[in-house]
Symmetry: C2
Amino acid sequence: MKASQSFLATLKEAPSDAEVVSHKLMVRAGLIRKLSAGIYNYLPLGLKSIRKVENIIREEMNRAGAIELLMPMIQPAELWQETGRWEKMGPELLRIKDRHDRDFLIQPTSEEVVTDLARNEIKSYKQLPVNFYQIQTKFRDERRPRFGIMRGREFSMKDAYSFDRDAEGLKKSYQIMFDAYTRIFKRMGLKFRAVTADNGAIGGSGSQEFHVIADTGEDAIVYCPNSDYAANLEAAESVSLIGVRAAAANTLTKVATPNQTNCTEVAQFLNLPLEHTVKSLLFAADQEKGPAKLFMVLVRGDHELNEIKASKIPGMAESRFATEAEIKQACNAPAGYLGPVGVAADVTVVTDRTVANMSDFVCGANDAGHHLTGVNWGRDLPEPLVMDLRNAVAGDPSPDGKGVVDICRGIEVGHVFQLGTRYSEAMGCTYLDQQGKAQPMVMGCYGIGVTRLLGAAIEQGNDERGIVWPISMAPFEVVICPMGYDKSEAVKAAADQLHDELIATGVDVVLDDRGERPGAMFADWELIGVPFRIVIGDRGLADAQVEFKGRTDAESENIPLAEIKAKVITAVDVAKKLVS
Amino acid sequence: MKASQSFLATLKEAPSDAEVVSHKLMVRAGLIRKLSAGIYNYLPLGLKSIRKVENIIREEMNRAGAIELLMPMIQPAELWQETGRWEKMGPELLRIKDRHDRDFLIQPTSEEVVTDLARNEIKSYKQLPVNFYQIQTKFRDERRPRFGIMRGREFSMKDAYSFDRDAEGLKKSYQIMFDAYTRIFKRMGLKFRAVTADNGAIGGSGSQEFHVIADTGEDAIVYCPNSDYAANLEAAESVSLIGVRAAAANTLTKVATPNQTNCTEVAQFLNLPLEHTVKSLLFAADQEKGPAKLFMVLVRGDHELNEIKASKIPGMAESRFATEAEIKQACNAPAGYLGPVGVAADVTVVTDRTVANMSDFVCGANDAGHHLTGVNWGRDLPEPLVMDLRNAVAGDPSPDGKGVVDICRGIEVGHVFQLGTRYSEAMGCTYLDQQGKAQPMVMGCYGIGVTRLLGAAIEQGNDERGIVWPISMAPFEVVICPMGYDKSEAVKAAADQLHDELIATGVDVVLDDRGERPGAMFADWELIGVPFRIVIGDRGLADAQVEFKGRTDAESENIPLAEIKAKVITAVDVAKKLVS
């Protein structure tokens, strides 16, 4: 393709509302233009990258046996009323009325429509399993759209929905999708992790997210470099850092710790490692009648409480920090000096796994200005209830026993989810089993943020000069930059010929025929992030040489003109194979 | 592909709301399913045909130098207020409000957004011409959606917008699009005509429609079988049927014609050919002050007045039929006996071209129960104003002089339109010319109804058994129907092998692995309209033979198994070449 036919629209300056690097670079490189908050035009180069992403997704979805169809953008309210989502969803669901004042909405996803289709079209167990997918525009009326297309309002998503006879079948369908997603992101050449997501109200291990790894990601991910283990910080299991509790060595002692109200201060004051201290946090869960039920939750002094995990303590799903009055009643001491020894009998004490294996530890004395040292379970206070309650930290043992975990940041680009029968039961989506009995179909849903992937890839791959695309997603694989395309016959002839030859072999090449100066030309293509660049000039041609350079190479390489075609083909192949 | 992975969903019965054959067949063949009025799910086979249509369009648009981008579905009202369309358009424009109560709309087309993009991105004459296109979901809130996807509310359209420096450039861009459209519809294998459209308020010859020819089409098209001439009935020029006016032969005579109030009756009563009579119609155009201005419009007795043409008579753009009182005042006679001889002096008489060349004709006498015979222009009444005022009829001379016209019916599937500066002037979309002076860009717009094309192709191609697709649009090119796929090892082996071999050569083949009985299997694939069918059974295999049949062939042909692959490849190639 010629650059003059590609509508290049690079900019020197990023828009003032761009907070993240991908947003800045996508606008500067001429991939997108904002039309309204969270609503973007995709310029030709941006659309080219989108199509490459879509094609990889489509090929792998088809390979996995999923069947593509297309559901409408505009959907009638009635179906969403059947599942209750019409009422339950907030204003991010854009509700509209047609000319006859009937209620519709613009799809954020299509569970209702696909379930309606399945209940109409699928009658028998013989038709199951089936997995339908679409690649289609979605709309979510975000309160505060930002980060360019990473949290836009109108976006493109691949959404798939599997229908199975039973939970066993769903597990298989889910695994097939998990494997397909893994192939998809590998082919895209992205560094990514499949992470166990917190399942919230759903329960079970039925949900995983795929994150592109990037320092600027919104989510913290706990992962094991030696294995496949990865989980959202909220969901990452933390094992005990102490294998077996040591026997008590010290006596229980009350020590004065005036004005030392947190573990770090206490440890310093007592000249003990922070790891010997225990943090006591008091929560209250309001009851329908009578006073709130109180919980004392313990984590080691250097650890952070994980609130999602704490919310799973029986009775604590809906809890709050205790009030001063409640603290006084339970511990007879101000915050900063609380501890499990001698706490009121109606307070439920729950400890993190590590705390449960500590001995001779330090905690508040339930007496202002005092802490206890040499505290031991069983001797000084009853054996506690034990749960996993803390955030994982880098260096923790991996829950799968394969080394220690590290923490990185990620951008969610995919989600696989075992829905079960939530939608099929609400909508009467049943099939007749082998005994002729109606059974609800068991569903899974599987999303990939198509447009979001572009932003995520750029957050992962960029430098001070612009985008560093994986070759699978770049708008072009190779750019030919002729020095004086309109001035030198020899340069023009060599550039045109190489362009035509590369096109013929299937390389996605662009020839910069704009007649720009070299500096401006190079800057444009580095900003756009084309993986390979060939420079053809009279000086090199005199020696039958051209220059070849990878986007992140420090120096260009002189290649004989006669060998450049083979060189490019190999380089593109290697780049593609490296990433698949 | 295997049929079991294609989600076949054929039905015996068409839905009760289906009025036209394409709607019935698309539902019965399992291509679409209605979700709501004018809103459809595209099932896998329907989507496959859409993708084939999109690919042909995309290839030819790219070949014509147009540049693909993607504009949003949801567009802010502000831009549409700039051009006045926000207020001007009726309720078919679906206006919506976002969560912050701001006005948006769902795009029916994208003139405003693309003009906004152009004014922001294009600064210099050096960047022109450019032609942007998208293939994108559109929404028009039709009052009465019908005919399945032919007049749906949500539909897919290719819309392109050209920007030029001047009218000369626009003409070139328009011609390039016209040629691209011609290639597109030819490649699709459709019988079609480019027809001159009525330009309404725009004027000039800047608009043509592309119609798929089908007896069930909504529009009448006047065309010349010997040339490229074709026009909408509204726009088709009618030449005079009488080359030179003959000299007057008869004297002006008033004859009694009691109760004979139309030309057919009068001609019979007087025993004259209908072609000797003239019909006089009286119209009134209300004025701001004073009485309405009256017009007498004359067409030959066997012709129909074309109201669009009549509305172009100076002063008659907004006119109505005259009232009884006005008729009385102008002609002093009741309707049925009106004529141009002796009509009141303030009535403007305008005649169709043919009438202007008639002599010795018959018309009303402006006297109840009487007509005049032997009427001659110049002698009995003044020479008239002459215009083209009638509907063309089959057998008329073609306006291009290349024979006579015929009339057929068509379905509009494309439209090319010279917009000029209507949008660019309203939105300040200018460029700097070579003198550094700001000039409005000169625009064209070019649409193709992607989903509508499927309906139109089926209206053109169907029989009592189902759809007869052109091969370029069929969901599959070839179907392999094995007799006893699950029962005969030999049949299964031969079917699988042929399937794999055809796939490898790029033939879009489906293998029916469902285990259906032959009758049901054949009926399904004829309903779906796959162009070629191969039947493999044990009996044939015993002689190393299979059966081959084109969708519209009366009989199948026995082909040696060893030759079937070559036979299919040739048949597909021939079908594709026949249509391109």
